[in-house]
Symmetry: C2
Subunit: 354 residues, 2 copies
């Protein structure tokens, strides 16, 4: 069996017995019932994912998958393509948004070149960098498929391998992305899967004006017409209208889920990857935590389809994994509530009148 097949076969649904044990304990904590709201819901999820009443979430990594997109030839981004390579260097020098936010939560940042359109120099031996380059960027999906089926499979497998390697050192994952133009494939994937019209799942990306926005919507309409991706077939979707970093994110989620490690899903691009992972293995969604709601308007529709409610809503739209990193402190809080807060009995506190 292929690594993909083995990985999918290993992914178990969330552990119902642990979920119910966690709920039982949380019901008895010294506070009005469920007074810590969504953190308590999250604590149940974490117990079910990890199969433990003391979920381990102290070894944290944000995996920032980078790739380029041939569709930038259609003018869908305000930034030149070379920014992808430049930002990879910025990540490795510690100067990007994801580096700053990861320091808040003691998370390492691992950058993976899934398909950047250029060589990344001076990274030999750098433990924060992994090269899993499938190609020098995707092809222009406005005129044909972004990649071959074989490339799509290789990219997902590379993401799985990255997750399995990192599982030796980490127990809490965050997804991240970098790739000029990558809101376009994400919008195409979300439109195809949810059936929402392109103008509802297209955002301003890195800051388009009204005219540029209209042009981006029409590019996405063209992408869907030219490729006619099959929404029920994740491989068809990924190869025709995906991206290498999106495939890598899908693989990362599958790999982490197969090892029962929680994965914080960052913003719009990561959620497109999560939808692909869910398509390949519905049970993988049990290991996904939506970190935040992006400003990108399609993100809400994508999260509704995934049936996930985001933890944070702070008008962010950077990607890189910044939302995932930020939400790691909420995950730690949820675990500490489950593990460290006393019950009424333990603390000799009187209960409410019935």
């Amino acid at each position: 069996m292929s690594l993909l097949g083995k990985t999918i076969a290993r992914i178990q649904p969330s552990d119902e017995s642990l979920r119910s044990q966690a709920k039982q304990r949380l019901d008895l904590l010294t506070m009005p019932h469920w007074a810590l709201g969504r953190l308590m819901d999250l604590a149940i999820d974490l117990a079910g994912m990890t199969g433990s009443m003391k979920p381990a979430v102290d070894k944290r990594v944000v995996v920032t998958m980078a790739g380029d997109h041939g569709v930038t030839a259609e003018g869908v981004s305000k930034y030149p393509k070379e920014v992808t390579v430049q930002m990879v260097h910025n990540f490795l020098q510690g100067g990007a948004g994801i580096n700053a936010i990861s320091r808040v939560v003691n998370a390492d940042v691992i950058v993976v070149d899934m398909g950047v359109a250029g060589e990344i120099s001076g990274v030999s031996g750098n433990p924060s960098f992994l090269s899993r380059k499938i190609a020098l960027g995707t092809k222009n999906m406005a005129v044909g498929p972004a990649m071959t089926r074989d490339e799509a499979a290789k990219a997902v497998q590379a993401g799985i391998e990255v997750a399995l390697e990192l599982c030796f050192n980490y127990n809490l994952f965050g997804t991240g992305d970098m790739g000029i133009g990558n809101t376009t494939p994400s919008s195409a994937i979300v439109a195809a899967i949810t059936g929402a019209p392109p103008e509802q799942v297209t955002g301003r990306g890195t800051g388009l004006d009204d005219e540029q926005f209209k042009s981006k919507v029409s590019v996405i309409e063209r992408i869907l017409e030219v490729n006619r991706p099959d929404a029920k077939d994740p491989w068809d979707l990924l190869s025709k209208v995906g991206g290498f970093e999106i495939a890598g994110i899908a693989g990362l989620i599958l790999g982490a889920a197969s090892m029962r490690k929680p994965v914080l899903i960052d913003g719009f691009i990561s959620t497109a990857g999560a939808l692909i992972a869910q398509g390949l293995c519905p049970a993988s969604a049990d290991y996904m935590i939506s970190a935040h709601r992006s400003v990108e308007q399609g993100h809400r529709i994508a999260l509704d389809h995934l049936k996930k409610q985001p933890l944070l809503d702070l008008d962010m739209r950077l990607g890189e994994g910044t939302g995932a990193a930020l939400a790691m402190s909420l995950v730690e809080a949820a675990v500490r509530i489950l593990v460290e807060v006393a019950t009424f009995e333990e603390a000799s506190v009187s209960q409410a009148d019935k």
Copy 2:
């Protein structure tokens, strides 16, 4: 001049020049413009509060003010009054929600007895406990004023003193409360100040059913009829329909603001305290950060009046300072973005086309 007068005289509005310096730097960071959204707005606020381009927020404390309320005689809470004392012990043993969440953000928890209706035993020499007891709980405000004007002044002054002492060791404050029955004075304060009808600012507190809720609304209506507090006079409000912990929170905010230290405002009760602080000194609002939106329905109205948008919205309604503690990691993230993220020039990254 009294300590209160001196403190208020010292409170300076936010530093406009630092705010604009911070904005200038944030405009140039290696990301699409303002892509970290509200964290960047917060970074500007922090620069203005602290008067620094490197705001110090690494020494953190949550001050949980405790007090009892004579109005519990009207049946406004499902929990018996002795829970206030029991929970103070739970805080000091480290078993409460606030202890668990403070550990996530490396914040100390300091519990202040502002007016608990019982002795707190076994706390002599405990550095996490401060006794500033004004009285053994307030009087029943459904039949007359909760406290005298002199008691109100003493309680605010005690809060200021606590802040000034703690400023030697801490640079980031969070407010917190504990007091069975204290959503009732908070609702009364918010109704009086905002003019909102009692049923719109009354919540279910620790879990009232429909009938208990109606009864609580009618108690608050009675409180306002009996006392007729002057919304324009914070001392009249505080003494007639306040609480000792609410007064302490107001004082804490004023003290911290006078030393230019940011204060995270927790939920509904803390926001009632913040409204009193704002009434005593409007510029103190420049040092307040709204940590989260509580489930208590009056909280939204109170925050609108304070013109603050909360950072988190996680269906929490515990108080104790839990929301304030949780938001401390967002404050750290905002500072790190300002201080640590490279500009386009520093990182040699190409900028967007105009």
